[in-house]
């Protein structure tokens, strides 16, 4: 475009010069010759523009460079029409009018699109233009204050110009109108939302810091400590190389700290102080010595502890023997247990929890049994006491070999087993005796099936039999872990549980199987007034589909039976397909999963979640949208925008 205009300017110049004389033409031609492109253009423009007036000159001008074409000489006839154009026919006129109207209507209506979209997508629309709260009318407004005394006048002169004062006959003060102009409600809301977001972020950080401060995990603290120590080390190294004075000061400070630390008795092992000193010991002989001394001390201590443990182990074995032999005195066993506890604490750190559980259970049992014995006078629980003690002994002896899990199981199971016969003993005094005997016998490896059956007949058969099995296995296994796992057949050897299950399973499966129709076609489908052709067809289709399903389904594991009809009742109440606006089941489930009722969510949340879609006021006329309200405002904004832009350009 720019080039074109340039060339046009040049054309005009050229014209004038051509009139002046041919001499200039040469010069201009030579100028044009500098640029090949322009030359050609020149000739064209000459042809069109100058042909009528000074054709000769034009030809002369182009003689040097171009040949004269025949069309150069053709004169274009000027299109001069003396007549006025014929007016359009009425039909055509109307058509054009309509077209115009259509276009304007279209453009005007498209302006409404954002408004309509907003209305359609709004979650809540409130239809009330009625002003909220009180409204002051003119007659009720107080008279404006007029200063009289000089002091008042002075004050008024100082403050009266304040923008926040409301003047008479004006609803809003200057400051308020300014504020309104400066920010629309939408903007204000957006700003507020932003501030809120910032605030929540801050508070979240605060909370995080608080939470981190409260963490009690030793591991976490250790990691933190490590990081801190590493950083300090680095700093120290840095100081040593760059700033010896500061380094010395730091060392002094450390020494002071060390002394303070030393005054307290927290200096063994993993204290902050000792760890720091390990770092400093590279540079400080004294501290190195101190640490050495400390280490020796600790070694000594550990040595002593080992010897103690050995002694205690010996004791423990003795205790076990005592237990298995007699241990009728509960108090004795209690003391023994305590000792065992202490030993275990000393040696088997990792097994501590499980055995403790176990021990606790025995404690409970003992208290219970004593109370029982007090109440009954007889002593039906002695047997069980025996068994308990045997249990403990077995555990103690095999704790080395058994994995942690097994011992835990044991303790839990034994707890159950203990409580169960205990209850029984309260009811009848005879039965538990047999069971007790049972338990004892099982500890010795021999198996007598009839007695076992008795056991199983009792209500808590699983509870009781399990620990027994475990104990047996423990007896046998001592070393091999794999043999601990007992198959179902072994567990319920006498009962044929597996077979029973498979029988039941087959029965259930047969119930659910849809029978293939063996009737001949037409049989049973009677004609008549009540004959329903379509329904029958449907049911047939359904049954066939079911059959297909059965064929497709793969049989699952032989010891599992999943009831296919379990959720039938609920399934009836659930939607069969994903409803319209949702695209996936998960999405739909999420939409349903948010409770809204009072009591299930906080009160404010209920209010927010149950906002009605449409809010109308009683007895309030809802008027159609007012065009001026929407359009004029927008135009004003547009105008303001244009103004601001133009001012920016000027700057």
């Amino acid at each position: 475009m720019a080039d074109d205009t340039n060339s046009m300017d040049e054309d005009e110049l050229e014209e004038e010069e051509a009139i002046d004389g041919v001499a200039h033409q040469k010069l201009i031609n030579s100028l044009f010759a500098l640029d090949g492109k322009k030359k050609k253009k020149q000739s064209v423009t000459l042809r069109t523009s100058n042909i009528s007036n000074n054709l000769d000159m034009a030809i002369h001008a182009s003689r040097d460079t171009l040949k004269i074409h025949p069309q150069d000489l053709k004169l274009k006839q000027k299109h001069v029409s003396a007549q006025l154009q014929k007016p359009l026919s009425a039909l055509e006129m109307e058509k054009t009018k309509r077209k115009l109207a259509r276009e304007t209507v279209h453009s005007e209506m498209t302006k409404w699109e954002p408004v309509v979209n907003e209305i359609r997508s709004a979650t809540q629309t409130a239809f009330s233009n009625r002003p909220h709260g009180l409204q002051m009318f003119q007659s009720m407004q107080p008279k404006s204050f007029t200063p009289r005394t000089p002091l008042e006048q002075e004050i008024y002169a100082a403050l009266g110009k304040d923008e926040s004062l409301v003047k008479q006959n004006q609803a809003l003060s200057v400051a308020e109108t300014k504020a309104l102009k400066a920010m629309s409600v939408k903007e204000a809301l957006a700003r507020r939302a932003e501030l809120m977001k910032h605030h929540t972020l801050l508070s979240r950080m605060e909370l995080k810091a608080k939470r981190q401060k409260k963490i009690k995990s030793k591991r976490y603290r250790k990691v933190l400590q490590k990081e801190r120590v590493a950083a300090e080390k680095k700093e120290l190294e840095h100081l040593r190389q760059n700033d010896p004075d500061a380094f010395l000061q730091k060392i002094e400070l450390m020494e002071k700290n060390r002394m303070e630390e030393r005054l307290t008795l927290k200096h063994k092992g993993g204290g902050k102080f000792s760890r720091l000193h390990k770092a400093y010991s590279k540079f400080d002989d004294k501290s190195r010595d101190a640490i050495q001394a400390m280490l020796e001390k600790s070694k000594e201590l550990t040595k002593k502890l080992e010897s103690l443990c050995d002694e205690e182990e010996e004791e423990e074995e003795e205790v076990n023997i005592v237990k298995t032999v007699e241990s009728t005195k509960t108090s004795d066993s209690f003391i023994d247990d305590q000792m065992v506890d202490s030993i275990i604490k000393g040696k088997f750190g990792q097994l501590k929890t499980s055995t403790n559980m176990w021990l606790n259970s025995t404690n409970q049992f003992q208290t219970a049994s004593t109370s029982n014995s007090n109440a009954d006078g007889k002593n039906p629980d002695i047997g069980t006491c025996h068994s308990v003690n045997t249990h403990t002994s077995s555990i103690d002896t095999y704790t080395d070999s058994l994995p942690l899990k097994v011992t835990e199981n044991l303790s839990a199971n034994s707890e159950q087993s203990l409580t169960a016969p205990d209850k029984k003993s309260q009811e009848t005094s005879e039965k538990p005796k047999s069971s007790d005997v049972n338990v004892i016998k099982k500890t010795s490896v021999s198996k007598k099936q009839d007695k076992k059956k008795k056991m199983c007949n009792e209500s808590n058969k699983a509870d009781i039999s399990k620990p027994v099995v475990f104990l047996e296995s423990a007896d046998q296994l001592t070393v091999n872990e794999d043999e601990l796992k007992v198959t179902m057949e072994e567990l319920f050897e006498d009962e044929d549980v597996v077979e029973e299950f498979s029988k039941e399973k087959a029965e259930m499966e047969n119930k659910n199987v849809v029978k293939h129709e063996s009737k001949l076609p037409g049989w049973g489908s009677w004609a008549g007034p009540d004959y329903k052709h379509i329904q029958e067809k449907r049911s047939k289709k359904r049954s066939q589909a079911k059959l297909k399903d059965q064929k497709v389904k793969k049989p699952y594991a032989p010891y599992v039976w999943i009831n296919p009809n379990k959720d039938q009742g609920i399934r009836k109440l659930l939607p069969k397909s994903v409803p319209f606006p949702f695209s996936s089941v998960r999405q739909y489930e999420l939409s349903v999963s948010q409770p809204v009722s009072r009591g299930l969510v906080p009160e404010t949340a209920t209010k927010l979640l149950t906002k009605p879609e449409v809010v109308t006021k009683l007895g309030h006329i809802i008027k159609p949208l007012n065009k001026e309200e929407y359009m004029s405002r927008k135009e004003d904004i547009d105008m303001e925008e244009i103004k601001t832009k133009s001012t920016e350009f000027r700057k």
Binding site: E94, K95, K97, R98, L100, A101, R102, T104, V105, H106, E108, M109, W112, V115, V116, I119, R120, T125, F127, T367, T370, S371, N374, K572, L573, L574, P575, K576, P579, S591, V592, S593, P595, V596, S597, R598, G599, L600, V601, P602, A605, T606, K607, L609, T610, K611, P612, E613, V614, T616, K617, L618, G619, H620, I621, I622, K623, P624, L625, K627
Partner: protein
């Protein structure tokens, strides 16, 4: 053992609470019930809410009694109904014997009646000020009537315009002192002039329904006897567009909140919602009536509209949905010709052949009158629950269930079968002919014959 020893100084520990925490101050207070909204304490929250939603839908059906009263007094068919833009309780109705009545809805009584025209009253509309109303009748007159604040109509018209031919419909401009009449031609009247200042014709057929756009107030939609809907802009000298459909349009209603949307009640049992920027295809098709739809009126919220059917039923549609959300019928109501939705979005009025104007609630189960805050929250919660669980089959079934007159029930079934058969036939034809020979045509385009520019 330890417990046994301690048995002597045995002490019983009892919970003790401050009675203020659970006792209400007065008898009329709510019982204080401690609530903990932690979600883990309410493992069955969804199930409970489902049950609540189910109960709410059941209760809704129990309380769905939309019919409020019949306004009796006319001695002939109801010919038209009109509402005032500034008054809620006053409604106008006109009958075939030329009588106009003004009703007070709060007392459900006729305040005043005038014999306005010789013969049928064809059209009626209120003046924008609310102090006048206009009527046009079979006697080819257009008359202005004044009515007081209390609803008393002067026995003599304020002004009468005599015309050569009959006007079939009349409507007043939303803001200006302009009104429009249609019949042989579409005439726009302004101020006190005795002659229309603008007159439009497009084709030879007469026009029977005209309505002003309520937002872009210079726009007009007209229904003509040649099965067409025409758009006019009264600022210009000619029409804007003309849409010819397969069947006649009986009435048109503009959406009061969406400037470019209107809905047309059509003789082919359906309603069509159009976006005037694209008349080549309807924006929506609303079906459910089993006879011609005679009238349609938008709710002032623009979210719903009510329709009057020749099948003796009033239906209410959500503006964006294809099927009605509710249907109102009574045993004695005959063909419904006119419908109005009140300006406060609460009531619907229907005028039918058997000389009655009926007043309905716009929401069948809504409780009328002032609600207590607790009632309000309860209703809001119930509404939300119903909305969230609306797709569950049981709730859907209950909320959709309506007891319909036998005629409507069987007729609808029949129509459904007809439609299915047609579809089947079309698909069969498509299957057995050259690909592309039987094109797919969207349901919203089928009714359109021609779009004239």
């Amino acid at each position: 053992m330890a417990t046994v020893v301690r048995k002597k100084d045995f002490s019983l520990k009892v919970l003790s609470r401050n009675p203020e925490n659970y006792r209400r101050e007065t008898k009329l207070d709510i019982h204080k019930a401690p609530q903990n909204p932690e979600s883990y304490l309410h493992p069955f929250a969804i199930e409970r809410e489902y049950q609540r939603a189910l109960n709410a839908t059941k209760l809704e059906r129990v309380f769905a009694k939309p019919f409020l009263c019949g306004l009796e007094g006319h001695r002939d068919n109801i010919e038209c109904l009109a509402k005032f833009p500034t008054r809620l309780s006053h409604v106008l109705s006109a009958a075939s014997d030329g009588e106009i009545r003004l009703w007070d809805l709060s007392t459900k009584k006729c305040i005043s009646n005038v014999v306005a025209h010789d013969g049928l009253v064809r059209g009626m509309c209120a003046h924008r000020s609310g102090n006048f109303f206009l009527s046009c009748g079979q006697d080819a007159n257009v008359k202005f009537w004044a009515c007081s604040e209390e609803g008393h109509v002067t026995q003599e018209p304020v002004r009468t315009i005599l015309n050569k031919h009959v006007y079939q419909s009349i409507d007043h401009h939303e803001k200006d002192d302009t009104f429009v009449t249609c019949g042989q031609s579409l005439d726009v009247w302004a101020g006190d002039r005795a002659q229309p200042y603008q007159s439009y014709t497009w084709g030879l057929d007469s026009m029977h329904y005209v309505k002003f756009n309520r937002i872009e107030t210079h726009l007009l939609a007209v229904a003509a006897d040649d099965r067409s809907i025409m758009l006019y802009d009264i600022r210009g000298g000619a029409g804007v567009q003309k849409l010819v459909m397969r069947m006649k349009t009986n009435a048109i209603s503009w959406n009061p909140m969406q400037a470019y949307i209107f809905t047309a009640a059509c003789d082919d049992y359906n309603l069509y919602t159009y976006d005037i920027r694209n008349l080549a295809m309807a924006a929506n098709k609303h079906e459910d009536h089993i006879a011609a739809v005679m009238d349609v009126d938008y709710a002032p919220t623009g979210k719903e509209f009510a329709t009057a059917g020749y099948d003796r039923a009033v239906r209410i549609f959500n503006a964006v949905e294809g099927h009605s959300r509710d249907v109102y019928t009574t045993k004695r109501m005959q063909r419904v010709n006119h419908i109005l939705w009140s300006m406060d979005n609460k009531y619907i009025l229907s005028g039918s052949d058997e000389m009655n104007v009926r007043l309905w609630k716009s929401k069948a189960a809504e409780k009328l009158g002032v609600l207590k805050p607790r009632e309000k929250t309860a209703f809001n919660t119930a509404e939300t629950l119903k909305r969230t669980f609306k797709d569950h089959p049981e709730i859907k079934r209950i909320s959709r269930h309506r007891h319909l007159p036998k005629l409507i029930f069987s007729q609808r079934k029949e129509l459904r079968e007809i439609k299915e058969a047609q579809k089947r036939k079309e698909s069969n034809r498509r299957f057995h002919s050259k690909p592309g020979a039987v094109p797919f045509q969207p349901e919203r385009k089928k009714q359109i014959v021609e779009l004239k520019d």
